[in-house]
């Protein structure tokens, strides 16, 4: 990373750390939700933005992760064990869901994953013996870390933020390794990749499994945040919302999900000044963005920096050399 990008990240981290002290409890809840959903969006960005495999199942994995923690922690399982279980379970299910992606692509794959989301929703709603059906699960406890309780809204926000940072660093590492290049090869030209010795089957399944397991980890943070989960939170709407975050932020940009989740979580709330029309205004803004900049907000910023570099500003030229998104 060059200096400008480091500075931007540093400012964002300082902003994320100071923000809760300036907010009331609902504001803190919202930025906690941002941190939690960003984890799921990072996972989807890995599957879709880097490896090029569309998935409308990310919301279902958030649900599986949330129910995993919601069922295990009240039964006395330590939170971090339940957290790891959520990740591993979603890794396994994501691996299996990757098999259709070996046969179908694009909108066909979107339908396969959409059907999976519906299936998970039906299981959560109908299998009352396990999930308590439409009554949901309430009073999910918040974790305690070496005597430090994440029970207050402020503490839970910092807990979520810490998890987000840890998961981001792990994802950064993964994408910087030869695996990241292999995922990009799947997106760009799978036939050529195969002829260069790349086991495209294994990498495709890996992209699905890792992306899904991040969905599960996000769910494992979601359950103690809201402390009450019920099936309809994890219906198709959430999967579409996560897809929106990835695309609005900038699919295939590392920081795309952070920006996209911020917009998808906060913008509808800010728009409340438009009263009854706030969702209409929000939807119109999303449509405008998609029509004029399909590469998302970070794509827009990259374009602006490139234009500035073309005019000869040395600082901008330095920044445009970085952030090699698609």
């Amino acid at each position: 990373m060059n200096r400008l990008a480091v500075a931007a990240v540093a400012i964002a981290v300082i902003g994320a750390v100071t923000a809760p002290f300036l907010l009331k409890s609902f504001g803190i809840y919202l930025i906690s939700m941002w941190a939690v959903l960003t984890v799921a969006a990072i996972g989807l960005n890995l599957t879709l933005g880097y490896a090029g495999q569309i998935s409308l199942a990310q919301g279902a994995f958030v649900g599986i992760g949330a129910y995993c923690v919601g069922l295990l922690t009240p039964a006395g399982v330590p939170y971090f064990v339940a957290f790891a279980c959520a990740g591993l379970l979603c890794f396994g299910i994501g691996w299996i869901l990757g098999y259709p992606a070996l046969r179908v692509q694009h909108h066909y794959l979107a339908f396969v994953t959409l059907a999976f989301t519906t299936l998970v929703f039906l299981v959560l709603r109908n299998e009352e013996w396990l999930t308590n059906g439409i009554y949901g699960i309430n009073a999910i406890p918040r974790p305690t870390l070496l005597g430090w309780s994440a029970n207050s809204a402020l503490n839970f926000y910092f807990f979520s933020l810490g998890m987000l940072i840890a998961i981001s660093l792990a994802t950064w590492w993964l994408l910087r390794s030869p695996w990241g290049r292999a995922f990009a090869a799947l997106r760009e030209n799978p036939i050529r990749a195969l002829s260069l010795g790349l086991d495209t089957r294994r990498y495709t399944l890996m992209a699905f499994a890792i992306g899904s397991s991040l969905g599960g980890l996000s769910g494992a943070l979601y359950a103690p945040l809201v402390q009450f989960i019920e099936p309809s939170s994890f219906a198709l709407g959430l999967s579409f919302n996560l897809l929106l975050m990835v695309i609005v932020g900038g699919s295939g940009f590392f920081f795309g999900p952070f920006v996209g989740a911020l917009i998808a979580v906060l913008l509808p709330e800010w728009m409340r000044i438009a009263q009854g029309y706030y969702l209409i205004v929000y939807a119109a803004m999303v449509m405008m963005l998609m029509a004029f900049c399909p590469s998302g907000i970070l794509g827009l910023i990259e374009r602006a920096i490139k234009a500035a570099a073309a005019r000869g500003s040395p600082a901008a030229r330095e920044l445009s050399a970085e952030e090699a998104g698609p």
Binding site: L174, R176, S177, P178, W179, R181, A182, A184, A185, E188, N189, I191, R192, A193, L194, S195, L196, G197, L198, D199, T200, R202, A324, P326
Partner: protein
Amino acid sequence: MNAVLEVSKLRKTFGGITAVDGVSFEVRDGEILGIIGPNGSGKSTLFNCVLGQLRPSSGEVRVDGKPTTGMRPCDLNRLGVSRTFQLLQVFPQLSVRDNLILAGQEHQGSMVSRLFGRTDAGLGDAVGRMIAFFRLAHLADEPAGALSYGQQKLLDTAMAFMAGPRLVLLDEPAGGVNLTMLGDLRDRLQAYHAERSATFVVIEHQMEFVMALCTRVLVLAEGRIIAEGAPQDIRRNPTVIEAYLGH
């Protein structure tokens, strides 16, 4: 001399059409074998069957005496068989350097060691040498999609050589390349051949290119081999002339 590649009685049918009709040949260690033939004579289908992109209807393929019929392209590549494509196949949004690292990284260590190893999979020096060898140094950090057609063709060829293969199959390397670039490409192929004593199989339409580069030529027409020999003999062979000029 040993045969690097043996193809015996290979057949490939699509519905009622027989694209490759019982082709047998072998490629000897260190030679540059040219395969020529009119459009639709089955050259590319033959390549795709040999390389595992298509499953042959019958027949057998052996690499270094080992049966490889129906093997996946990625496994075949790890045995040291590499290829280029008739239509350009690079990774347009990745830099030239990343294209080349990608072409070699799956031959370095295991999937797990690559995850925890270096970003360039330890290929930095090898990529630097390959970039210099193909004279792409000034373009190393450009996205491959920004290169001219001829430059992408050079990159495509360089990628096929990245893993140090013993056998390289080149599908129309000269197609759509201008004369200057063509001279460059031939020069680089000959230099690599001399340096590494690698074995090449070249499918090509451009006669001059084949005559200058290849040590032996096979002629394919309607899915069968109709002639075989040294380049200068093939040029005078009446069967070949008829196949090319039609009836």
